[in-house]
């Protein structure tokens, strides 16, 4: 069964450093997402991406964040200058159709620890 994959599974970085989280969505999916989950809390929407551009973003997704689909398979989330409060689990997800009407499949996540 096709699945969303993410690398690395765990990333440790120093405050102020840049990190890139990588995702490979399900191959025929058209919509891509990043979510964040701080330990013990609910899953929070960050951004959605369709047709090579951001379609929606949350207030969390400020200028420190960017997303890119550099080729036909990868989808990346970049945090330019990490802060302690960026420590969280980051999930990538993808869907074939709009989120409101279709299933989103989540990847296994990347645990980001900012020291």
């Amino acid at each position: 069964e096709p699945e969303v994959t993410q690398t690395p599974s765990h990333q440790v970085t120093q405050m102020g450093q840049e990190v890139i989280l990588r995702c490979v969505p399900i191959s025929n999916h058209l919509y891509f997402y990043w979510y964040r989950q701080i330990l013990g809390q609910k899953v929070e929407f960050l951004v959605s991406f369709y047709n090579n551009e951001i379609s929606e973003k949350s207030e969390i997704f400020d200028d420190q964040f960017s997303v890119e689909r550099p080729d036909g398979s990868n989808f990346t989330l970049k945090i330019r200058s990490t802060k302690l409060e960026d420590s969280a689990m980051y999930f990538c997800a993808s869907s074939l159709r709009l989120a409101g009407e279709d299933t989103q499949y989540f990847g296994p996540g990347t645990r980001l620890t900012v020291l």
Partner: protein
């Protein structure tokens, strides 16, 4: 604006039933249910589109009452594997959106 789930936590014995509720102060276009085990990604259970439908998958089913702006997840004859945190998600601004807002979560623990 996030959906509110109840109860916050529930402990069951194997074989018992449980109901998890998800309600919103805003109109619901669709409701998505996920289960997340500790340290793992959310796993999709089912999606309900507006129309008051009920869907089921083996011993897990759900209903969606558009007028009452709520959905309920029914777990029948619970198994140990049902343990985890259950989240409902909804596109609060309608169907033509890619922004899924998740509820507060319900922790379900099934004991032998």
């Amino acid at each position: 604006q996030q959906p509110v789930q109840s109860p916050q936590a529930v402990i069951l014995r194997e074989g018992e039933d449980a109901v998890i509720n998800c309600s919103s102060s805003k109109a619901l276009y669709s409701v998505h249910w996920y289960r997340q085990k500790h340290g793992e990604a959310p796993v999709f259970l089912m999606i309900l589109l507006k129309g008051g439908e009920q869907k089921g998958h083996e011993k897990i089913s759900a209903s969606f009452n558009e007028k009452k702006q709520q959905s309920s997840l029914y777990l029948t004859a619970s198994q140990l594997s049902y343990s985890g945190t259950y989240f409902c998600g909804t596109p609060l601004s309608g169907g033509a959106t890619n922004k899924l807002i998740f509820g507060t979560g319900t922790l379900l623990a099934v004991q032998p």
